[in-house]
């Protein structure tokens, strides 16, 4: 075999190859970091601009030539944002809606995903395809019909109307089903053999195994409550139930209909902070949750 011919060729440029690979490695590292830093800057810049705008006086904000840093730094904007939109109350409302809807939706997602992943029944795939199809319809059309439904139920201006309609989120069922399907069938059959009921099996085996996914679903679901706008304004706009985004939109309109943008930006920053902290602390879980689900095609 020709193994020794290749050997001789190798010896000839051994030195150049060694240095070349050294440089290659270092270059690659520099390129990777440069690329990541540039992308990070592009992602971060709007935030810097948002904070910058939130510290300006309304007049300075309205000037033709935007300034890179406020001439008069208005920390009071944050205080005003908190009081004018009574962010405190909005926070509580959003937390109540967020937590309750997350818990209930988690329960529904788990048992639905369990049914899709584990139990065999007629029409399972048609049903699941149907679920996926609903993701394709633009939500605006549902608002009108759902509004008449909830009014008939008499749910207007209650927490129920903010929670119940969105308990079923197809994406999370899909995510969890993928995760459940990765748990080997033998475990389920073994459990069946020694008589554990479905619920016990679900509780004792499946949930612990897919805990990271459940945690990431919880976090992502909480964030959903933060951003919803059109529906809450329509169905629960009184102070006792108003959510963050509604509060933000309406709280800062001036008499002339103009919006005091700096204070609104401050409010948005205040609202984003807790969500951001939640992510920073639970980052590991979110990551593991998503990867564990290993979304197969």
């Amino acid at each position: 075999m020709a193994s020794n011919t290749i050997a001789t060729m190798k010896e000839k440029n051994m030195q150049s190859v060694k240095t070349a690979s050294q440089i290659g490695k270092v270059m690659a590292m520099i390129l990777t970091y440069a690329f990541l830093i540039v992308m990070a800057i592009i992602v971060l810049f709007p935030f810097y601009w948002m904070i910058n705008s939130s510290l300006k006086t309304l007049d300075e904000y309205r000037q033709s030539v935007p300034t890179f840093w406020p001439k008069v730094v208005m920390f009071s904007n944050y205080a005003e944002a908190f009081s004018a939109a009574n962010l405190g109350r909005l926070f509580i409302n959003t937390m109540i809606v967020g937590i309750i809807s997350t818990i209930l939706s988690l329960v529904i997602t788990v048992i639905t995903a369990f049914a899709f992943a584990r139990l065999e029944f007629k029409g399972k795939n048609i049903l699941f395809a149907g679920l996926l199809a609903t993701m394709m319809i633009p939500g605006e059309l549902f608002t009108i019909t759902n509004y008449s439904t909830v009014t008939t139920f008499g749910w207007i201006n209650t927490y129920t109307v903010l929670i119940v309609p969105f308990l079923v989120s197809v994406f999370y069922i899909y995510l969890l089903r993928q995760n459940f399907m990765q748990i080997p069938n033998e475990l389920y059959l073994a459990a069946k053999v020694d008589g554990t009921s479905d619920l016990k099996y679900l509780w004792k085996v499946m949930i612990p195994l897919s805990l990271p996914t459940l945690i990431s679903i919880t976090i992502l679901k909480m964030m959903g409550a933060w951003n919803s706008y059109i529906w809450p304004r329509l169905v629960a706009n009184d102070d006792a139930h108003k959510l963050i985004t509604n509060g933000l939109r309406s709280a800062f309109t001036e008499t002339t209909g103009d919006v005091n943008y700096p204070v609104q930006m401050a409010a948005v920053a205040l609202v984003s902070a807790p969500l951001f902290l939640v992510f920073v602390f639970l980052r590991k879980y979110i990551m593991k949750g998503v990867s564990r689900s290993g979304i197969k095609g």
Partner: protein, 365 residues
């Protein structure tokens, strides 16, 4: 292409603050002659895989040098070393067919090694024939059996004519029957290609059966290097003796008094010019001879019939193993009625080891 390791060491920094570092490979020097098949042998965690990965370039040594022929490849990345590696669980690319898996390394060749498309294909079919999987070229790895996947992994490692072929516990994932067959395959392939090959295993039978030379390791330190038969017949210390051979060697507490080795009270064998001392005595199962007037006596537990041979299971107070097992040819009848059996010992099957250092003590009969 001979491979030279010069006091190769590898230290893993201990993650926990307090604990000291783990020395995975400790000052390992060894020259693997060209075209030889060498087995790195030892219990798990003895540093054999780490050594393999250092030779391959996937692990950076903490100290020492590695030479392929005259070239110092210590700091060279794997792709420039001309090395072929077969992973324990094959690591075949699941999304590629067998042909694509084998072709892949060839497509990476650059510069003057670059081959034309036809040559690559010819080389692939050639190596597939060599490992007898030329009929599976269009299959996906998930459709193959363990043995077949093993052979595809070997083909992929061989196709770019590496200077050194490395195998990481190649047989551990196979069932018993397939293991024997594949073992022979590897031997045959290595003989035909004449490529210097190093393979790692914890199964001493596997290493002994096909290696030209074996290296027995323990906790990162080399215990002994040599031809399998020599190491078996002339163990450097008690560990090597105990590690090689199935069924394992029988070990007894013994004492040398006045040129005579005593096991318990039985004067088993004269050992000239060995100073009086307590010793550990190792006797190979095939080293026992049935002999009513034999010096060594044991209490019989039972007899296991193994076809050509018979294995007598007995106990002896001085034995460190729970039972003393001997292998006798099936012709001589074993009279178990009296409950005891007497043996005499083939001198070259009996080894003396220093009681504390467990080093071998040579003796003439």
């Amino acid at each position: 292409m001979k491979v030279v390791l010069e006091n190769l060491t590898k230290v893993f920094p201990n993650r926990t603050k307090g604990g000291e570092d783990v020395v995975a490979v400790n000052d390992f020097s060894f020259e693997i002659p060209d075209g030889k098949l060498v087995g790195l042998l030892g219990p798990s965690g003895c540093g054999k895989s780490t050594t393999l990965y250092m030779i391959c370039g996937l692990q950076k040594p903490s100290g020492g040098k590695i030479f392929f022929g005259e070239d110092d490849v210590t700091d060279l990345p794997p792709e420039h070393r001309g090395v072929g590696l077969v992973f324990q669980n094959y690591a075949l690319y699941p999304h590629m067919t067998v042909k694509q898996n084998i072709l892949y390394p060839l497509q990476n060749l650059k510069g003057e090694d670059k081959l034309s498309k036809e040559e690559m294909l010819k080389r692939t079919v050639e190596v597939a024939k060599l490992v007898q999987i030329d009929n599976l070229l269009d299959r996906k790895p998930s459709e193959l059996s363990g043995g077949q996947q093993q052979r595809v992994a070997i083909a992929r490692a061989l196709v770019k004519m590496p200077r050194v072929l490395l195998l990481d516990e190649p047989l551990s994932n196979l069932d018993a029957r397939l293991r024997l067959q594949t073992r022979e395959e590897i031997r045959r392939i290595q003989q035909e290609t004449g490529i210097t090959t190093i393979f790692v295993t914890h199964d001493q039978e596997e290493a002994m059966s096909i290696s030209d030379m074996i290296v027995v390791m323990k906790l990162g330190v080399v215990q002994q290097i040599g031809k399998p038969q020599n190491v078996y017949d002339d163990p450097a210390n008690l560990f090597v003796a105990k590690f090689l051979g199935t069924p394992p060697i029988n070990v007894f507490e013994g004492e040398v008094r006045g040129g005579m080795l005593f096991i318990g009270e039985d004067p088993v064998m004269a050992v000239r010019n060995v100073p009086d001392q307590k010793v550990s005595v190792g006797i190979r199962p095939e080293g026992f001879i049935l002999d009513e007037r034999g010096p060594l006596h044991c209490h019989i537990n039972g007899v296991e019939v193994m076809g050509r041979d018979v294995s007598i299971v007995a106990t002896n107070e001085a034995s460190l193993n729970p039972v003393v097992r001997s292998i006798i040819s099936a012709e001589n009848k074993v009279d178990t009625s009296s409950g005891t059996v007497r043996y005499s010992i083939k001198p070259h099957k009996l080894f003396l080891f220093h009681h504390e250092t467990e080093e071998r003590i040579p003796f003439e009969v």
